[in-house]
Amino acid sequence: MRYETVIGLEVHCELATDSKIFCSCSAHSYGAEPNTHVCPACCGMPGMLPIVNKRVVDYGMKAGLMLNCHINRVTTFDKKSYYYPDLPSAYQTTQWFAPVAVNGLVEIETSEGKKGIRIKQIHMEEDAGKLVHDIREDTTHVDFNRTSVPLIEIVSQPDLSSAEEVEAYLERLKALLRYARVAECEMAHGTMRCDVNLSVRPEGSDKLGVRTEMKNMNSIEAIKRAIEYETARHIDAIENGTEVLVQETRRWDDIKGKSYAMRSKETAGDYRYFPDPNVMPVVIDDEWFDSIQASLPEFPEVKREKYTTELGLSDYDAEQIAKSIALCECFEDAYSVCGNAKDAANWMISEVMSNLNARQMTYDMLTLDGKALGELISLVSGNKVGRANAKKILNAMFDDAAVVPSKYAEENGFIISNDTGLMDKVIKTMVEADPKAVADYKGGKEKAIMAIYGKCMKELRGNCDPQMLRTKLIEYINSL
């Protein structure tokens, strides 16, 4: 018999807000010393009250709209009770009854074509802390830096049927949420985590099989391996009766390449959800909703399409720029000022990207003012600044956002003077200093002139029109 795998995902994404969801502690503690980003509120001390970070709701709404969800205009927070040492108040504030977004759809593309994956809901919640196990001392330490860091949990319907689709889906979520600048979605940083719900059924059947859940998967490769392993295990159980499948939570051991049932004690229990009386229902009025909708970016494929058809960029260039919304915005601003899409794209792909790489920054971290970049490009194309000097200016712009290209060029003597008197003088000096090159050139070695040309350009500190310099140099040599 042939089987199909039915997969639903619960994806947790850390929201990229500055502060935590219910207090003003910094939400960014990746790599920080333990318990340095904490306050009495996120440590669960009695007497502190949760104050909703409005930015979290903004981001929750943006995520919902990016995934084509319906936004609940009255959204509420609820308490979920369970005991674990990394949860200091013994409850997690989450959304159970009225999550911010419901009924969405995400389109993915795989080798088998396009497919829509339905989103059941997106809810906002607080993260828990971390336990640090000290094997030498046989003790466990608690780090609350991560408690109350805002998350969204994106719950899909069981519409996925292969590891390839899961990968495409996760990549799509990452692309869309990054485009909306609501989440980093970097599994390696723990800013995207995934619970995989999986069952197997005979192909064509409309009944779901016994479902198992693998929690807290944190790499796409591990997820793919786990899906393959679980699918095989389920089929083996059904076909060969190797074991009785039960609905359970399993832990994936990526080193051994196996999944293990968790002790029932760890998973049993009743979360006793109820509305949090300390958090008033959040009412999203039209003005708020409209402002969020207006702030949404175009989708990556829309950008790509626009860049190739409207602006005439090559597929490769469009693809490169559309990799990040920050690149897109910088490019579009630069183009709006310089008026030449091809030039702007070249600068983005060669100079801007290499500056980011040299600084070990991701594309999303780009904060360069695109309009200023456009001005710089215009200075070069208008023969006002030489290309080598323009690169120096761009470097300065990366170092200091306040740098204005034209002003910086003037202050540093980068403006092409086209002072023909000076140019003639320099040409004369350099030609006289290198009679061998002149002789070679006259003897037919055209390239011999380039050495003199380079020296002239250097002497003029790059501040001349290259074409003019070349013409004048040839004229001078020919006149000798």
Partner: protein, 400 residues
């Protein structure tokens, strides 16, 4: 037998005592529970900050019953305060009566403040929910918890209300300043003209009944129209409140697990045992019963049938009061079934706080303001408590 949980030196004339539900910096706060023995908060209750700024001096903290859900404080881990006849004494009221403090600042979660004020002939006011910050109060039942004032006179209650009411950004349920300002002394006062006595609530002993009759006579003598009306919905507040309060309480005390602060059992070999044994050893019987009940109401099996239904009853009761306040300026009812409780009776009948709150649950579940005065309780519409206190002041003057 100690009325003071902790005494504090103050040179200020306007002395106040706080119950041990208010967090104080540098002074322990235990909520009457062994679980928090020795716990010192990193921050102070917003009301105490406001009162200090207004020139009031804290002279001490009074003992409370464990998590302030009992009758008068008898479940404190420090032991019950009783007189030689076995009558239960309330520490806050005793401290006010002794002249040490002009007023007590207390958390009214299950009505103990109103019961104490009524039995001691003091005045108390539980203000409109949301007008006084709950920041820095040990949480019990957050949807009903109210910082309340107990004092010798209605005018003292008004003074303190004036100083402590106001919007607080640190409390997400705090009302806007424009609403809180209605509790200030500068806000206009409306005359109380019509009062309803709900006869269904008069299931109390003769001492309480005579207090009701005596106040009714005074009101009528002042030209206030008093109607005795039947209403069997208001008394249903009790069961609904017991469900909501216990559920919220269960959730709020789950943070006391022996891991981070407070009591930790010496006897454990695993994290589960650490939780279980710490809580078993540190919590008192009545709190444990409340936790079990509360936990059960929130179970998947019972949620819709019990907890959700209690929320619906809360809505109905709010609407019922809304109807009553179209006709009446205030509703009069007892604050307790008797003018004294004996410790023996309470020990024999351990669920008394779950029955005796018949009188206090209506204002707790609705967040309506309630004033205990001359042994009984007056409930009025939101933001009208100053009018009610003004009436009490007038009656106080006439009585002199």
């Amino acid at each position: 037998m100690e009325f003071y949980f902790e005494k504090v030196n103050t040179s200020l004339d306007k002395k106040i005592v706080a119950d041990d539900m208010l967090l104080t910096k540098g002074i322990p706060t235990t909520a009457g529970s062994r679980m928090l023995d020795g716990y010192v908060s990193l921050f102070e209750a917003e009301v105490l900050t406001r009162l200090t700024n207004a020139g009031y001096g804290l002279c001490g903290k009074a003992s409370v019953g464990e998590l302030a859900i009992d009758l008068l404080g008898e479940t404190s881990y420090k032991g019950a305060c009783v007189d030689e006849n076995g009558k239960i004494l309330n520490p806050v009221a005793e401290i006010i009566k002794s002249g040490d403090a002009m007023a007590g600042i207390c958390l009214d979660a299950n009505g103990y403040v109103r019961r104490a004020a009524a039995q001691y002939g003091l005045v108390s006011v539980k203000p409109t929910y949301g007008t006084v910050s709950r920041f820095g109060m040990i949480p019990v039942a957050c949807s009903g918890d109210c910082v309340s004032v107990m004092a010798e006179s209605a005018s003292a209650c008004r003074d303190i209300l004036d100083a402590m009411a106001g919007h607080d950004d640190k409390d997400g349920t705090s009302l806007p300043e424009s609403k809180c300002a209605l509790l200030k002394k500068s806000a206009p006062v409306v005359e109380i003209k019509r009062v309803a006595v709900i006869t269904d609530m008069l299931c109390c002993d003769d001492t309480v009944n005579s207090a009701v009759n005596s106040l009714v006579a005074k009101l009528e003598a002042d030209g206030i129209k008093v109607d005795r009306i039947e209403n069997d919905l208001i008394k249903k507040s009790r069961n609904a409140w017991n469900i909501l309060m216990s559920a919220e309480l269960c959730n709020n005390v789950s943070r006391y697990d022996g891991v981070k602060y407070g009591y930790r059992s010496n006897n454990f070999t695993s994290i589960d045992e650490l939780y279980t044994n710490s809580r078993t050893e540190a919590f008192g019987d009545f709190l444990k019963a409340a936790i079990l009940f509360g936990s059960d109401t929130l179970s998947t099996e019972n949620y819709m049938r019990v907890y959700d239904k209690a929320l619906r009853v809360r809505r109905l009761i709010c609407e019922e009061f809304g109807k009553l306040f179209k006709e009446y300026d205030a509703v009069l009812m007892p604050a307790c079934s008797a003018m004294a409780y004996s410790i023996d009776a309470v020990r024999a009948n351990k669920d008394m706080p779950y029955t005796e709150n018949l009188y206090t649950a209506p204002a707790s579940i609705t967040g309506l303001p309630a004033v205990a005065f001359e042994g009984v309780q007056l409930i009025c519409n939101y933001f009208n408590e100053t009018s009610l206190l003004a009436l009490c002041e007038k009656l106080e003057k006439e009585g002199k």
